[in-house]
Subunit: 351 residues, 2 copies
């Protein structure tokens, strides 16, 4: 099969790999019908995170179950499934607490499972899925989703679940005022998640006209293009002299974390989901003095998918709108380039 391999910074190649087969009775093999490039895939692409050896990449995909291990009872050939961005067992204390991203049997796409067997990356034609029954979510009554539904479902793998996580961590609730820092796919999904949770006022911090437009479509009531102190002042002005109840940090840099922190009102909440790229620690004294809470991290997508899926199937949310570009898998190198250069918000890859 064809699969996307990262060899080093800026070096993405689509290569031949063995077609995956069942290794364990709890496996299934999924034929990928759509995958995509994540903002966090850009960290190794840019060399911010190192790549020690060529590795299969991609952790967001949807597809059709092709073969099923003998211990798997909840999935059958032909089922359409969503893969959360990590593998989880569903039975350990962490999974039972809903924190599937801290699963005792955690494994990542493109890595190896606890038994040592290779797991394929999501940006390829097929993937062996370990612990398939607890990892995958079956989409009921859907055999072949159309392009729009496929895009919507694919966001549940990561970005929509992550935006939702940011909103929950920032305690978004009906009537709350919200600021979203970051206008990538996750930030935009954060806007949509905040709207979905009933936020009254949603300020999207964005400097790009296309992203501003999508933010408004997703529910942003205001756009702030300024950054730093100017951005904080603008938020304060828009909210009548007070800062925001809830702030979603969806980037991961030192600057974005500071921007986010300084937009929260005393006693408010900061939800952060941008993978921290370093240089930023939580100033404890600031939190003490302001009573601002901080929560976030990797989203337990597996926990959130059923709830978000219901809304996607009901047509009340359309997170798939974050895909402003669709390319064949063979053009994965160009997909990375387009996202790196911010020519695309998020690229969907068709194997």
């Amino acid at each position: 099969m064809r699969a996307t391999i990262i060899h080093g910074p800026g070096d993405i190649r689509v290569e031949d790999r063995d077609y995956p087969t069942l290794q364990l009775p709890t496996d299934v093999v999924v034929k990928v019908t759509a995958s995509c490039v994540c903002g966090s895939d850009l960290w190794p692409y840019r060399g911010v995170r190192s790549t020690r050896k060529p590795s299969a990449i991609g952790h967001e995909f949807v597809g059709v179950v092709e073969s099923v291990g003998e211990d798997v009872t909840g999935l059958a050939e032909g089922d359409f499934v969503i893969a959360p961005f990590v593998v989880s067992c569903g039975e350990c204390p962490q999974c039972l607490n809903g924190v599937t991203v801290a699963c005792d049997f955690l494994a990542g796409w493109g890595g190896r499972d606890k038994a040592g067997f290779r797991i394929d990356g999501g940006q390829g034609q097929a993937v062996r899925v370990p612990l398939a029954e607890s990892t995958l979510v079956k989409v009921p009554d859907v055999a072949e989703p159309d392009a729009e539904l496929t895009a919507n479902l694919l966001t549940l793998s990561d970005v929509m679940a992550t935006g939702h996580h940011a909103a929950l961590a920032a305690k978004v609730a009906p009537g709350r005022t919200v600021v979203v820092v970051g206008d990538g796919a996750v930030g935009l999904c954060g806007v949509l998640a905040a709207k979905r949770l009933g936020a009254e006022r949603i300020i999207a911090m964005s400097r790009h006209a296309d992203r501003q437009a999508l933010a408004r479509e997703f529910g942003a009531t205001d756009i702030v293009a300024e950054r730093g102190d100017g951005g904080v002042a603008k938020v304060r002005e828009l909210l009548g002299g007070v800062l925001a109840d809830s702030v979603l940090e969806c980037v991961g840099t030192k600057e974005s974390m500071e921007q986010a922190l300084h937009c929260v009102r005393p006693g408010g909440a900061l939800g952060f989901v941008g993978v921290p790229t370093g240089g930023s620690e939580v100033p404890l004294r600031y939190l003490f003095d302001s009573n601002v809470s901080i929560a976030g991290g990797m989203a337990p997508a597996r926990t959130y998918i059923p709830e978000l899926l219901a809304d996607v199937l009901a047509g009340t949310i359309n997170p798939g709108r974050v895909f402003d570009s669709v390319m064949p898998l063979e053009e994965a190198p160009e997909a990375y380039k387009a996202m790196d250069e911010r020519r695309a918000i998020k690229v969907l890859l068709k194997p």
Copy 2:
């Protein structure tokens, strides 16, 4: 009148000061019937925080309203009142959000109000209270509380409200497992608050027999004397291989914060109320990887007092048990010494 003045590290004196009088129509003057020494008073006493000039000290007191400014309608001479540990207006956005400790008109006992008038410290015979109606809480149907009730009411000024804040920040709820780091009055009140909020398992980290006994009386189900990695291992063992859902940090040092952080399970919550004494920053990457949330800071005691007061008056909580020593005001220097040397958990001062 007599009042406690801090002159510098280790230098606490009880001196003569002018008896307070009404300065503004929103003032009342309270004759103090009981006050006490706070763990945070020990920071300037120990020189951890500097004392630039001699200052009235003490921020926890209860007493009787003696004179009433003309704009004050909700309080009358003879009312028995509880003073939260800061002055707040009750009307600014922060107060309306319940974050009275970030009030736009915030002032502290022993300091000055926004109008520039001196405010007495709590460890004295009387106090001019600015913004009295929004700051003080009247105890209904109580004219002269006995010693036990006085002690209970006095804890609502700060330590019981602070323990409650830590428990809320750590998301304590029915069925949750809890660890409390710190066995001072606040930590012990944190145990009581966790019990009150329905925690199933409460582990108090303490090395002192008297404090361990009080922790058990307040609802601790287990005591852990070990610290560092040994303490974390013991918590994990007691909780069946998982760390705690909720951890209350009630000290404020680098060591105690690390201890607390490492006792939280993935996806759990850390509530911190120990005034950070520096040296401790929370590693963002650790929070990201563990999905641990952090919240806390100064407790909005004014917001919590009505709810806690109801339980004190109903006799369902007895937080006043943290006072293991009562001294006349004149012995304030000895009270500080006894607390500094950990001979007393908390000393009540009778003016």
